[in-house]
Each structure stands twice: as C-alpha cells, then as structure tokens.
Symmetry: C2
Subunit: 271 residues, 2 copies
C-alpha cells in the first residue's frame, strides 16, 4: 500500500510527530499540512477549529492518503470523533496515545497536563485518562503563550525560560505530579526548558513518539504498511511563510540530516 | 463493553502480559488460559501448535470475550494470521508490538532476538522487523532451555545464571547489538539474569508492556473499552498443576498485592 500517511497540524508542532513517523516508519511517505497562517488554534472556537481542520483534511484527501494523523491536540480534541465517523481511512489523534503513555509512566497516579486554551477547555485529556483509569488525579493548565513562542522559532534562552517559569508556576505549587503530558505537539520543541522548570523528578510525556508508535500498530492492523523499499520523498505544505517553516523543520530534523534531504516544502492555499 | 479480554499462553509466560494489562487497563476483566500441561510449545510442529492454540481459543470464545491477546510468541508466530482471519473480534499477538518497540529503541540498527525453537524457526521476528524497516540487522538465537526453567519456577540463582550464560554465548560473541527482544513471554521472568549476561549496554525489550499498550489502543480504536468503574475479577485457568501456577502468579504479581486478590485460579480441561 504505497499511498502516503497524511499529517495535519495548526503549524509546526506536528513536525515533531512527522519526525517520529519518519524514524519509526522509514518506508512510509508523508504528506504534511501546517496551517501556520491561522495558527494558533488554541484560542479559537470549536466551530472554527473544525472548519480549518476539515479544510486541511480535504486538501490531503484530494492527494490520496491511506491514513490520517491529526498531529494537533486542539484539532484532535474538537474533531477526532467527527473525522473517524466520516472518513473511510483510519484516523489517529494525539490525545489518546499521550494519555496511555502517561498511565503507563505514572507511579503515584498524579498526572499533569499542559496544552492550549482550546485543548484544556475541551477536557479531552481528563476524559481520555479517566476512560482508562478511574483513580487518576489530573492537574490541567492552559499555556497560551507557548505556541506563539515556538511558531516564532524562539526555542530557548532567557525569554523562553521566563515565560515557561511564569506559566508553570501554578502547577509547580502542586508538587504531587510525577508525570506531565505535553498536551500540544509544539511543546516538545521547548521540552528542555519545561523539564528544567518542572524538575527532574517529573517524567515528561511527548505524544509525538507515542502517536508514531500507534500509527505503526494501526497500519499493521489494517495491513496497509508500505512494502516498497525505496526511500520515500515527503511533501510538506505550509499555509504561511516558507522561511520560518523551513528553519524549524531543519531544527527538528537536525539529528537526521539525511531525512531533511527527502523533504520538499511548499506553500499551500487550502481555503 | 463489559466482556472480558481473553489471554492465551502455552503456560505461565503470558502472565507477564496479563500483569501489564491489569496495570495499564485496570477496568478490564481478563480471562486467561495457560496450557501448562502441554508446555513448552517451542519444540512442537506448526500443526500441533495450531491445534492447541485453537483449543484454548474455543474454550475462551464459549465464555464470550471481546478481544483476544495471543500472549505466546510461538502461538503468535504460527497462528496469528489464521486467528485474525477467522475471528470477528480483534486479535493481537506479541511479535509485532515487540518488533515496533525494538525499532523505536535501537540506535545502531543491530537487534538481537531470543525465543523458542518454534519462534526462531518461524522467522516471524525478522519478517516483522524488515516489514517496517529495511536496514535492520538481526541476530536470532533459539534458547530451548529457558521455558522449562521458568515453568519449574527456577527464576534466579546459580543454575539460571549458568544456563543463561551458556545459551547466550553465541550472541555475546556478536557484540554489535544494542537492543535485545525477549521473543518469548516467559523470558521477562529471568530478565535480570539475561541483562547481567548480555551487558548493561543492551536495551532489553519485553513485549509484555508493549502488547498491553497496543491492546489499549486497539480497544479504544474499536470503541470497546470497559466503562464500568467496579474493580473487575479475573479468571485464570491452567491445564496443568495448580500449585506451581499459583506460585508463579503470586511471584509476578508480588509488586501489586491488591491485584492478587482479584484473581481466581482454576483448573481447566480444554481438549
């Protein structure tokens, strides 16, 4: 099955998922859309997030994809059920894989979740966690400044440390949590600073790795793994400015220089 | 969906999978059958393994199960495809989850696999690994003495160390591997000794944890997670001697004493 896996995100955050998909499923071709122009999705209404998400999905469906990965927590929170219901290909979100990994990691059953306003408002994480485990205590916090920071490419330094420290202050006061879910795919890009602020005793869960692993399981379960041994070429689209998108792609993929060579980045108009 | 998850194994090895399922999916009820009487499956013919496996499956189907976990590598190697084809419930084996976790863990692409004669003979692991990643180098070794050792409850000490050292000698000579798959669910019970012999630089992959995680993903994907918050009672069956089976169950579940209270162990005649 040589069709591509479709990956959508509000911007560059989903690139952490794409990177993991390329690492764990090196035979699979990716088609990525980042809606950088209209990022962040976090403060938007459910209705608006749904409309934007469907626009990205329709863009990819026209190019034929065999599976869809919703690599944006806000889009997952508001549209996953609807997408799963309407599409005849497997659809995977980032929330359940993260929730499962956190349940696997926690020892004291106290889990923190940070995400955008929209994701935290949706209560999608508490729902996913309590669906599986009734005795989990959840401490959720919206971090509205993190996405704009990452989209601007400010991934470290004084400003980042200051914003992360101030934002996580209410969560630090509650020092019960032993596990923290990065409930936004942008956050792995500032993971080091988050770890520094929250402390080394807290395990940080990035749903990117987990989502890639489950994508592999679902592809195999549906018998649609790519059998072709040729190195795939990936097509990444952004609705916004090309330069920043390219810069962040290169930073994320810096550990695997050869991977960068296989990615073609273009501008897309999806509305 | 309050039906149980069915778990089958040639003996006590699958208890490591059951334990992980109980930890990661605490709301789910388990029905377990261990064919201790006819264990080990490793040296048996494909035909015989298939017949025994179907006998366990039919025993569980009569009691109604919503998903089947084939918690035995030998049974997975020889019957997974057939079971997936014939049953109308999701069927999960232990080989693909282990393969995926190993690909996720390896850095130098050299992966070792140890298992029973049957599993190694079937080449199921090389197939699963190369299906996903063409550039993996695989070093596979049959360890026919490990299962009888574990089934007797000899999980540590001089004899264990000696047998593990002698058996793994050919694999130690090839010191390229950075990841070792325990391709038999009995092996996690002697994991410490295996780690001691193979060296700390090698990451050991136990498919038990991975299989439980994927079971959780598949249950959610099919929307058949149990919604009931009451503590489930689990029913474990052995075709062999009750005393050893109980002893090993207690040893595996020793870290979670409360779990032991929820397990009822009985004898079963499945032929």
């Amino acid at each position: 099955m040589n069709q591509a896996i479709g990956v959508i995100d509000s911007g560059v955050g989903g690139l952490t998922v794409a990177h993991e998909l390329m690492r764990q499923l090196p035979k699979e071709k990716l088609l990525y859309v980042g809606d950088t122009l209209r990022c962040p999705y976090g403060p938007r209404s459910e209705q608006e997030v749904k409309r934007f998400t469907w626009e990205m999905v329709n863009f990819l469906l026209e190019k034929k994809i065999k599976m869809l990965v919703v690599a944006c927590n806000t889009a997952t929170a508001f549209t996953l059920n609807e997408l799963q219901e309407h599409l005849d290909i497997p659809v995977i979100g980032v929330i359940n894989p993260g929730a499962r990994a956190a349940i696997n990691a926690t020892k004291n059953m106290h889990i923190g979740v940070i995400g955008t306003d929209g994701t935290i408002r949706s209560k999608a994480y508490p729902e996913a966690l309590l669906n599986i485990h009734s005795e989990i205590h959840i401490n959720a916090l919206a971090c509205p400044l993190f996405v704009p920071l990452v989209e601007k490419g400010i991934l470290q330094g004084e400003t980042t440390l200051q914003i992360v420290s101030e934002t996580l202050e209410p969560m630090k006061k509650n020092n019960h949590i032993d596990t923290l879910i990065l409930g936004c795919t942008h956050y792995p890009l500032i993971k080091d600073t988050i770890q520094q602020v929250i402390g080394d005793h807290v395990s940080i869960i990035s749903s990117s790795e987990e989502t890639a692993r489950e994508s592999s399981a679902i592809l195999e379960y549906h018998e649609i793994l790519c059998k072709d041994d040729r190195i795939p070429y990936h097509q990444f689209y952004t609705t916004g400015e090309l330069a920043t998108f390219k810069k962040i792609t290169q930073r994320i993929f810096q550990s695997s220089e050869d991977k960068v060579q296989t990615v073609v980045i273009e501008h897309a108009t999806i509305t």
